[in-house]
């Protein structure tokens, strides 16, 4: 952006020096080759198409189609996955994601408000939390919840069994990201809104709940939905907690079936099930972003 702005120079009140008149038809630079700009563009585009087509052909020729079909597209194995892949695996994935999202949202809201607090220790605590949980791989947190916590606190049970553990682990990860998003949303609400609320007699807490947070959520709906998509994929880490057969989600289910059948078709089917959810969600996010853009205008 700044590169484009630079040549225009700062605005002045004094008139700009007169433009140097360049006679029409004078070339700005001596021509190096005989190609015009549009010819060059055509050539460059043609080259890109050529590379692309060549790559596709190379793949199509070199791939062992019979083998790929055998590995990934065994119709009878795929058929055998239904309806479990939907009624159990996809259902569990959705459940894990939503519970993790709910925990993350509540915890993230608390962290965001602590980050904005006038009490120093609250701000520091939230800051440290956010930095730690944004910096750690989600996988480590799952292992920590699944292994370290039971070992460190023998006898303690995270309520809700596997579902509780997943909600907690996913929630801890999500909260760190959501806290920053929510904080940004709250700060994006114009200052006049708080002043108007306070002048009407709202207490700071009530103004936050009734006036500021509802507006902040409109602003952050697209990034929050994006976070939901990320969590949806992260829910595959559940397999590190050790789950029963009925608690398996898409990735674990697909992998288990792939090893029993010695075939990759279940992986492909599981992958398609993820896309079944993430692509429409992504579409919704883009729609919301476009709408938000319009609202700004």
């Amino acid at each position: 952006m700044s590169d484009q702005d630079a040549p225009r120079g700062p605005r002045r009140d004094t008139p700009l020096p007169p433009k140097q008149d360049i006679p029409l038809g004078t070339p700005l630079q001596p021509k190096k080759k005989g190609l015009t700009r549009s010819q060059k563009r055509t050539l460059s585009q043609g080259a890109q198409y050529a590379v692309f087509v060549a790559a596709v052909i190379a793949f199509a020729v070199s791939a062992d189609w019979a083998r790929l079909k055998n590995q990934f597209a065994q119709v009878d194995i795929a058929e055998q996955m239904f309806p479990d892949v939907i009624t159990m695996a996809l259902k569990n994935t959705v459940l894990y994601t939503l519970s993790g999202f709910a925990v993350g949202l509540v915890l993230g809201m608390v962290m965001a408000l602590m980050r904005l607090s006038s009490v120093g220790p609250y701000r520091w605590f939230a800051g440290v939390y956010i930095e730690i949980f944004r910096g750690l791989p989600a996988l480590l947190i799952f292992i920590f919840i699944g292994v370290a916590v039971p070992l460190a606190f023998p006898g303690t049970q995270i309520p809700g069994g596997t579902y509780g553990k997943v909600a907690l682990a996913l929630g801890l990860v999500a909260a760190a990201y959501m806290a920053e998003t929510i904080r940004a949303g709250i700060q994006a609400v114009p200052r006049g809104q708080l002043e108007a609320a306070r002048s009407l007699g709202f207490s700071p807490a009530r103004a936050m709940i009734s006036i500021i947070i509802p507006q902040a959520f409109r602003i952050i709906l697209p990034p929050l939905t994006n976070e939901l998509v990320l969590l949806f994929k992260d829910s595959s880490l559940v397999l590190f907690l050790g789950v029963t057969l009925e608690e398996r989600e898409l990735s674990k289910y697909g992998r288990d079936l792939a090893s029993t059948t010695a075939n990759s078709t279940p992986i492909l089917v599981a992958g398609l099930c993820y896309l079944l959810v993430t692509i429409p969600l992504g579409f919704v996010v883009r729609r919301m972003e476009a709408k938000a853009q319009e609202a700004v205008k």
Partner: protein, 275 residues
């Protein structure tokens, strides 16, 4: 007018004593004393950066005074033990930028504060909202969202929202400065009616015609102090101070002022947005 002055003596609705306000090293208010009687309409005028908006915002403690006292309806706002939320319910405030709640309809803008702050029940809040929307002539916009209204309509809704809380005092912070010229009239008409109904009003404004016709008193501020305080005829009609004359002549005819004063750099300085 004379009865009003007597009323003012009997009970000051707004009283400001020895008020100072600094932002860092910048002292914006340098000792303000002001009394506004019940039912009195006071317009505060002055160049940008004179501290008039800051003074108004100190009257409901949106700005915390650095020194001095503010009383509204006999309650000291500057007392650290005062329940500021309770006092603010009695003070309506109208902002330059309207500050309607964009996520709520016009009616909800009026009912939500009544319900959350005054704990009025749904039916009563709705009734009061309807009454006050009618008062500002916008009953037909009850279900609309603020973004679909013109600036003038939004400002009238903002006035109705403040009135729905049943305030004893109304503060206006340059209520028409953000409006297109053709929309100013409707807002001023609402304010004029309010003044005639006997509302105590403190209005920071650049609308000299409004000040002349509606105000009981005009206060001219410059450099963080009150330079002149009197009836509109005194302050606007025949100002005693050079600074007031200079401000008024520049306001009435900016081009003329520059020629008369012959100090273009000083004029330019005063025109810079100060607050």
């Amino acid at each position: 007018m004379s009865e009003k002055s007597l009323g003012a003596l009997a009970r000051a609705e707004i009283e400001v004593r020895g008020l100072h306000k600094s932002f860092g090293d910048n002292e914006v208010l340098r000792g303000i004393d002001l009394e506004i009687g019940q039912g009195e309409v006071v317009c505060v005028i002055g160049p940008s950066g004179s501290g008039k908006s800051t003074l108004l915002r100190c009257v409901n403690l949106l700005e915390e005074p650095s020194k001095g006292q503010v009383f509204v309806g006999g309650t000291e706002l500057t007392d650290p033990d005062v329940d500021i939320d309770a006092v603010r319910r009695r003070i309506g405030m109208v902002f330059q930028q309207f500050n309607l709640f964009p996520h709520l309809t016009v009616t909800e803008n009026l009912t939500l504060p009544q319900r959350r702050v005054l704990r009025r029940d749904k039916a009563r809040a709705a009734r009061v909202a309807a009454e006050n929307l009618e008062r500002v002539g916008l009953s037909e916009k009850a279900a609309a969202y603020p973004s679909s209204l013109s600036g003038g309509q939004q400002q009238r809704v903002a006035i109705a929202r403040a009135l729905a809380m049943g305030p004893e005092v109304m503060l206006f912070d340059e209520p028409t400065s953000a409006l297109d010229p053709e929309l100013v009239g409707d807002v001023l008409a609402v304010m004029r009616r309010l003044a005639n109904e006997g509302m105590t009003m403190m209005v920071v404004t650049h609308e000299m015609t409004f000040a002349r016709e509606v105000a009981d008193r005009v206060v001219f501020m410059d450099g963080g102090v009150i330079v002149e305080d009197g009836t509109p005829a005194q302050v606007i009609g025949s100002p005693r101070h050079e600074r007031t004359r200079h401000f008024l002549s520049r306001l009435l005819d900016p081009a003329m002022a520059e020629v008369e004063e012959g100090t273009p750099d000083q004029v330019g300085k005063a025109e810079q947005p100060g607050d």
